[in-house]
Amino acid sequence: MLVGRPVRRREDERILRGEARYLDDVERPGVAHVAFVRSAYAHARARVNKNVAGGALLLLTADDLVGVQSLPVQGAEGVELLGPAHPVLARGEVGYVGQPLAAVVAETRALAEDAAELVEVEYEPLEPVLSPRSAPETLLRFARRTDGVDEAFAAAAHVVSERFELPRLVAAPIEARGAIAEAGPDGTLTVWISAQDPHRQRAGLSHVLGLEDDRIRVIVPEVGGAFGSKGVVCPETCATAVAALRLGRPVKWTEDRFENFLAAYQGRGLDADVELALDAEGRFLALRARLYADLGAYLLPTTAIPPHTAALLMTGCYTIPEAEVELVGARTNKVPTGPYRGAGRPEAAVLVEGIVDRAARELGVDRLELRRRNLIASDAFPYATPLGWTYDSGDYERCLDRAVELLGDVEPGGDDVLSGTGFAMYVERAGGLWESAEVRIEAGGRVVVASGSSPHGQGHATAFGQIVADRLGVDAADVEFVFGDSALVPRGVGTFASRSIAVGGSALARALDELQRRMDETGRRPLAEAAGLRAEARFESPLVFSSGCHAAAVEIDRRTGRLTIVRVVAVDDAGRIVNPLLAEGQVLGGVAQALGECLTEEAVVDENGQPRTATFADYSLLTAAEMPPVATAFVETPTPTNPLGAKGIGEGGAIGTLAAVANAVTDALGGRRIAPPYTERKLWAALH
């Protein structure tokens, strides 16, 4: 059996040799380059002067986009969508600094940028809206409540409340975004996109361009990271496609880092009030939460997903019989938000685990004991939450026990040091929807797999290869994989929500089982005799719910406010683990992103809505020198919902750690909660 073993990655060799081909490495003959004229104001009336600057091949403004729709908007169950969809190019009014107003095409990227700088825009500045709490307009609303919330609060022995604020973050994959569009003589369109999958990009382009999706081919080359931020089509890709159709030659957009900070959708951005009602024995009776999401100026296709997920996870890992959540998706003059690793789950973990710690402190009960008293028991699955999701499997107390054990005893710091520890449970919705896979046997018994899942660094071919090897008895290295090309893979859903193994891997397992059945039926064994046989599968399942417990030990220097994260523990339950090496890699990467969120990362705008963090010098990612020791462990409670027993591991690391550090910092500060990131300036101010 290869499944369950730390198989080394087959993807690595060509990357290490510099042979991997990312978006900007794709060269098309006769390619022209596009640059964007972007809004200089957060909120303004704006008019583009259409005198084409010298050297430009094409200038596109909103006036030139007749027949081009705004981007599609994906709803979520129960969400009322109210706000405008994001236009490809702004017409009349701009809603955030960096919003594309015009696209300029020229022979080289440098000439396109020169020409874009020369385009004149007349602005009449308007008052920017920056606070989600006081925003006059909403882009979306969502509310859900059980019947007995008010009675439960009225009857409670204790009610605790807390306000939580989480800043906006930038996903910041090291490869920024980009696309190349090329029109065929028959009006078809081929688009290479640095993306998480071809399917959602193609559906988005089809909607925006009004072109049947079978006339669009999307090819996803190797991708230099995404973390949620390359999931759906973006305005710039749409404008690039329009330019290619108008010019009749290939057009390339290679985003630079500055643009990525200004215009790629951001994550988090939440301000919330949470109340928890408990009985005299410390049992949770009811929870109320009002969430103000800082969504930005427009709805992008998946803007609704993270705050909706946060709202539905507000009962966390606990039995809380009554709950009420209200989500206000505020329209602000900032770049829109969308999924960033965790996508609503880290927010829910910070809120739920923060209010539980607050209750423990106010009631004078040990915080671990309070959790144990209220965790959903391991024999209670499937567990229907009061907010409407059904958790498939889990053993939350085992995760907690393991985290306590791994954190171990914490030595108190010296006189100048405030020490704290924190624990956070989390539950993560993962998987869901459906995915596709096709397996075929070619000459000589060569196995070819085409998958609807789409890699961008996770190691799909390695992990999927293990599944194929176990089921067909072949060498994993001999299996050929096809990903990311809508002309070559079956229609699918894509890679997000930690779903590739659980849903894509399960589709693959089903296709392999079907292939075996056909081989048996036709008597064509071994594989060399089975050339020409093929099998396809579509696997669909309800959501699966990964979970875990993270813990952290921190020290704050009283004199400087400097936070040191002494160590972090991440215990994650993603069901059956296909490759522990890759799974741990996912956890470590997610934890690193969460630690960045704790220490440095925050997308800041000034009082005019001007971004103050638009370079890697201002928005600081952690380096190797700043990473604390991280201990990881897996608890495996297989899900009954799919043939692999796998849940999802892509995001867990990024979910629990922020909440654990937030609780540790609050512990060190004697119960005072401040908002991340925990910078020296903020901590010093809290202490003096």
């Binding site: 990655r9 990312y22 900007d24 230099g224 880092r257 380096t623 020198a625 690391g653």
Partner: protein, 153 residues
């Protein structure tokens, strides 16, 4: 346009470039050596690191014309006789890469330190790596790869 000649991985590349052309763009788009990646174009992320006369530099912070007559090594020049360099092999063994976009920059930053024969312990290894950003791995695998190649070169 200015005519320049730059030796990259032992091969002379001639090109006519605008004086403002970045060395990183010359390497990638004029010479077609796309293993060198561009992550920020402002000298922070380190993805574009190459070696100029054996020393690591950020190729996005140098103009192509400044490299005229000089000698560069890029990630494509790291393997020897078709075999992965021990550092490259250690990266694979220690799961030191995921999306791989930052990886060539790390390799080109680390390799000169190995050549110098310095013996490095973990804090020094982490300092050595601190000029390059990785958004995927959390760095542990990269630290372990350096430890492995120092232990077993």
């Amino acid at each position: 346009m200015t005519s320049i000649t730059v030796t990259i991985n032992g091969t002379a590349y001639e090109g006519d470039v605008e004086p403002r052309t970045l060395l990183s763009d010359f390497i990638r788009h004029d010479c077609g050596l796309t293993g060198t990646h561009v992550g920020c174009e402002h000298g922070v992320c380190g993805a574009c690191t190459v070696q100029l006369d054996g020393e690591p530099i950020r190729s996005c912070l140098m103009l192509a014309v400044q490299a005229n007559g000089r000698s560069l090594t890029t990630v494509e020049g790291l393997a020897r006789d078709g075999e992965l360099h021990p550092l490259q092999a250690a990266f694979r063994e220690c799961h030191a890469l995921q999306c791989g976009f930052c990886t060539p920059g790390f390799l080109m930053s680390i390799e000169p330190a190995l050549r110098s024969g310095a013996s490095l312990e973990e804090p020094a290894i982490r300092e050595l790596l601190a000029g390059n950003l990785c958004r995927c791995t959390g760095y542990r695998g990269i630290v372990e790869a350096v430890e492995l190649v120092l232990r077993d070169p």
